[in-house]
């Protein structure tokens, strides 16, 4: 391996790697705009200039992004002439820039601002008229403020190389160069939101986030995307109790640097007016009696009554228990959703098996969407559930596959009289046959997140659950990678993560002493479920681990 010197210190460095990336990997500060590790090297911004010398190299200033590591290379990143060159570049970038930071959404996460701190002047030497450029939509989700653009071409290269759609290009030339789409053909690829993320300045902005919040007031939690089984790693940005923005979080094994638009904008349901913040019941006493008398009243015919969460939990347990006592454990079935976390699926099964003794468990899941694949290899799966794979492990492969049909058959046959269903699925359009069957049941208790959710329409008890941004937990993506989502917000009202609700049911059933944190539940899960053996939250870290990783080094390497 070649040895190179950076600022007098020796490093072993991989031959051919660009010096900028090598420095960044070492935690050394080298400012840059156009360079992005996912994209071909453009070398146009000239900000990453360093001083270099070495065999076959004319010593002097050079851009580090275009400089490959070779043996005996010597690089200085902080020499006075390097500093001067970077000051020059920054000044050039700012002469025609509007300096409208107070009204720019990028403020706070803008490379121009950041580098001004180190390389900027306190006043402009440019006294002439600035070049002005267009402000317009260049895509369904993205608008450009041309005056702020530094023509680094990250967005152009992204559309060409990652999305493979090539909707954006630089048009005109010289200092009139500006990013544009072909008239009538806006950027509408399903990765378009990433262009705003990788824009180093306030030129490309996401219309969804426009003027929503100053970034420095927001709080951020690391999470994963629930919208499909890829499980893209993301950051949840919140402000005043609302999700304002989802951003991709780098994970080379899963989503590289990206997040698709379907997932990116699929957070509105978390703060929608239809969110359930209270528990409610209807006809529960009748239902319980009716169960025994076999004259059930379908839930939709009844009026809702408000109820405390504890009361609703107690009624749920008591009613289910009555059914078990009167009809046998086989009269109660469970439906869990592929939107529940691993911990919740584990607890759900535990409650149904230990608390109830139920025979039939089924899995409900969001209907398939369209699958997409992009030039860079990035994929959007047809499976629009974050945790089908986890459900297969935790409910059992058989239950995940055929359980729902068995429950349906059991209801139709009159054997199953009551159902506990857990896990709201935003945008779910369930099989009408399922709803029709549930509607006839004597008792349905659901843990859900939306007032108008399909299952709520057939329920006797509604326990308000949490969306994925309101809970800690893990999802297992399609490749079997167990990844953490972390709570970014409290759930509304008395709503609580399903893991809490299910543990309280277990407490009521006398099968558990207290409610544990998600981390505690995961430890229990890892101890009991072989596929998860050896995993822990600490172990999962920010990038997750594949099932079986602890046992198999080949898996661990994935």
């Amino acid at each position: 391996m070649p040895t190179i010197k950076v600022n007098g210190k020796e490093y072993d460095a991989p031959a051919g790697k660009n010096v900028l990336q090598f420095c960044l990997d070492q935690g050394l500060y080298v400012p840059h705009y156009c360079y992005h590790p996912a994209l071909t090297i453009a070398g146009n911004c000239r900000m990453c200039i360093v001083k270099g010398s070495g065999p076959g190299l004319r010593p002097g200033l050079m851009t580090s992004c275009t400089l490959p590591v070779q043996d005996k290379l010597e690089v200085e990143t902080e020499a006075p002439d390097v500093q001067k060159a970077r000051e020059g570049v920054l000044e050039f970038l700012l002469i025609n820039h509007p300096l409208d930071c107070p009204v720019c959404d990028q403020a706070g996460e803008c490379y121009l601002q950041d580098y001004s701190f180190k390389y900027g002047r306190d006043r402009s030497r440019f006294v002439e008229k600035k070049v002005t450029k267009h402000t317009k939509d260049v895509g369904r989700n993205i608008r450009i403020w041309g005056n702020r653009c530094i023509v680094c071409t990250r967005c152009v290269r992204f559309c060409e190389e990652v999305a493979g759609t090539g909707e954006l290009n630089v048009v005109e030339r010289g200092d009139h160069s500006i990013i544009d789409n072909f008239p009538g053909l806006p950027m509408d690829n399903l990765l378009s939101g990433n262009t705003a993320d990788i824009c180093p300045v306030g030129a490309l902005l996401d219309k969804d986030f426009l003027y929503q919040a100053r970034v420095w007031y927001m709080e951020t939690a690391d999470s994963v995307c629930p919208t499909c089984s890829v499980g893209c790693n993301l950051k949840v940005d919140t402000y005043q109790g609302q999700v304002k923005r989802l951003r991709p979080r780098e994970n080379q094994a899963v989503n590289q640097w990206w997040l698709c638009d379907i997932g990116r904008y699929n957070h509105k349901f978390t703060s929608a007016p239809n969110r359930l913040g209270l528990a409610k019941t209807r006809g529960v006493a009748t239902a319980a009696t009716a169960a025994i008398a076999a004259t059930a009243v379908s839930a939709p015919a009844l009026e809702w009554e408000r109820c405390s969460l504890d009361g609703a939990l107690a009624r749920t347990w008591e009613t289910l228990d009555k059914f078990v006592r009167a009809e046998g454990a086989g009269a109660v079935a469970g439906l869990a959703s592929a939107w529940l976390s691993n911990e919740e699926l584990f607890l759900f099964r535990k409650f149904m098996k230990l608390g109830i003794g139920a025979l039939d468990l089924g899995l409900v899941a969001h209907q398939d969407g369209e699958a997409h694949a992009f030039k860079s290899g990035f994929k959007i799966h047809a499976d629009r559930n974050p945790n089908r794979r986890g459900a297969q492990e935790l409910l059992g492969a058989d239950a995940a596959k055929d359980g729902l049909k068995r429950v349906l058959d059991g209801i139709r046959a009159g054997r199953i009289k009551a159902v506990l269903a857990a896990g709201g699925i935003p945008g779910w359009e369930p099989d009408p046959a399922l709803l029709a069957a549930l509607r006839k049941l004597a008792f349905v208790a659901v843990l859900d997140v939306a007032e108008d959710a399909p299952l709520v329409s057939v329920a006797h008890v509604v326990l308000p659950g949490a969306t994925w941004v309101e809970k800690d937990g893990t999802f297992t993506n399609a490749q079997g990678r167990v990844q953490r989502c972390q709570r970014a917000l409290p759930p509304p009202g008395v709503a609580a993560p399903e893991s809490d609700l299910l543990q309280q049911l277990l407490v009521l059933a006398g099968k558990r002493e207290k409610v544990l944190s998600a981390q505690g539940v995961f430890a229990e899960l890892a101890a009991e479920v072989p596929a998860f053996a050896g995993l822990s939250y600490r172990d999962l870290g920010g990038q997750g681990k594949c099932l079986g990783a602890a046992a198999d080094p080949a898996v661990a390497a994935r």
Binding site: K84, E87, V89, F92, V151, V170, R173, G174, D175
Partner: protein, 425 residues
């Protein structure tokens, strides 16, 4: 110093562009000789020995450039002929293309044989509509005779040549901008290294040669490297086409040996227009630093003498200015050019050329400030050597030299808010 005209021998002879005319003058014999008498490596050595330096601007030794191309044939090799003549003050290639297209084609054959290239493109600037027609006709004639195509000129080598028209962009005269443009893109210069010799057109080994450079080859092959070295100076052998323009009585292209004193060149061009005093000379196309009259009258026109005078031979475009020239206005004109032609890829050039132009516009219009001089020099510092190609440097060199050498005139503009010279057209 007299020179038997070579490149320009038949200029202004009616019909000089036709194949019959060219053949009557012994045309294509040099290419035949090259194929017959020289193994490719030997031909490269011969051209190296001639000391022929590129006539496009950089003056890089031609044979050396060829020798950088890998000998292996695992990838196609290309010749890109730079006929994108657009350096202000330069109009020699236009004459060669319009009047002696077969000389160029023969040069192309010789180069292709030496480097074993099967595909050549002539990138001709978009505005040369007439030249493109003439050249295309010549290509068709040469193909018809079997000089190009399969087994070109009986060499056993298949050589194809394609005329490729540019579309109006100075930057495509920069060799890698030319290649990017030829590949069907905006003409952005490429990152170097890798260099075209190994990763050029379509990422394959590529020779980029200027029209005048190639047009010299038939003479070198016919008469030998030793003969070529008898012309010009030791380090700048051969003759050179100088385009003398601006304030001279007979603006034209003159073929003289390299090393000819500027004084003689000026005399050839009939002296300064209206017999006015000489004020300044840009000796090698607009990108070359300007010389004062005193400097110019002492300098010889070859690569090294001009480098010693801290300017360059460049493309051989000699712009002469008499005492009626406002140097502020002249520089403003040039920076308007560089601003207009900056491709916009690199920050310092994209922003710097426009900024300098705006400052010069202020100076020219009586709104200059004393601090503008140090500002201009600092902008130049921040541009020079900090970009992918040398267009930024090409804008900086005139800026520095004009402002430094004619400082008093610039200061007059600031203090008096008007021009020092009486303007006349």
């Amino acid at each position: 110093m007299a020179l038997e005209p070579l490149l320009l021998k038949h200029r202004n002879t009616p019909g000089s562009a036709a194949l019959e005319f060219y053949l009557a003058q012994g045309g294509y014999e040099a290419a035949k000789k090259a194929i017959r008498d020289f193994a490719p490596d030997k031909l490269i050595e011969e051209v190296k020995a001639s000391g022929l330096r590129g006539r496009g601007g950089a003056g890089f030794p031609c044979g050396m450039k060829w020798s950088f191309v890998p000998k292996s044939n695992d990838k196609p090799k290309y010749l890109a002929v730079n006929a994108d003549e657009s350096e202000p003050g330069t109009f020699k290639d236009r004459i060669l293309i319009e009047q002696l297209p077969h000389l160029l084609l023969e040069g192309i054959l010789i180069c292709c044989w030496a480097v074993q290239i099967k595909t050549a493109y002539i990138y001709i600037r978009g505005e040369f509509t007439e030249g493109a027609k003439i050249l295309q006709k010549a290509i068709d004639e040469a193909y018809a005779k079997g000089y190009f195509g399969k087994n070109a000129l009986g060499s056993g080598l298949d050589v194809d040549v394609t005329l490729h028209r540019g579309a109006g962009a100075y930057i495509c005269g920069e060799e890698t901008g030319l290649l990017t443009s030829l590949e069907g893109n905006r003409g952005y210069p490429k990152l170097k290294p890798p260099f075209p010799a190994t990763h050029g057109l379509f990422r394959c080994p590529t020779v980029v040669n200027n029209v005048e450079t190639l047009s010299n080859l038939p003479f070198i092959v016919n008469r030998g490297a030793a003969w070529f070295k008898t012309i010009g100076t030791e380090k700048s052998p051969g003759g050179k086409l100088f385009c003398v323009c601006g304030h001279v009585k007979k603006p034209d292209t003159y073929e003289v040996p390299l090393g000819t004193p500027f004084k003689e060149l000026l005399a050839l061009a009939g002296g300064v227009l209206d017999d006015r005093p000489l004020k300044a000379v840009v000796p090698g196309g607009s990108s070359a630093p300007v010389l004062t009259a005193d400097e110019a009258m002492k300098v010889n026109m070859d690569f090294d003498s001009l480098a010693a005078a801290k300017t360059m031979l460049g493309s051989g475009g000699v712009i002469v200015m008499h005492d009626g020239t406002c140097m502020v206005d002249a520089l403003y004109n040039l920076l308007r050019f560089y601003h207009h032609e900056s491709c916009g890829q690199c920050t310092p050039c994209r922003e710097g050329t426009g900024w300098i132009e705006k400052i010069l516009h202020r100076l020219e219009h009586g709104q200059g400030r004393t601090e503008d001089f140090s500002l201009l020099m600092d902008i130049c510092d921040n541009m020079q050597g900090k970009t992918i190609c040398v267009l930024a440097d090409a804008a900086v060199l005139p800026t520095r030299s004009f402002v430094t050498k004619f400082r008093a005139e610039f200061e007059y503009h600031v203090k008096q808010r008007k021009c020092l010279v009486a303007r006349d057209a």
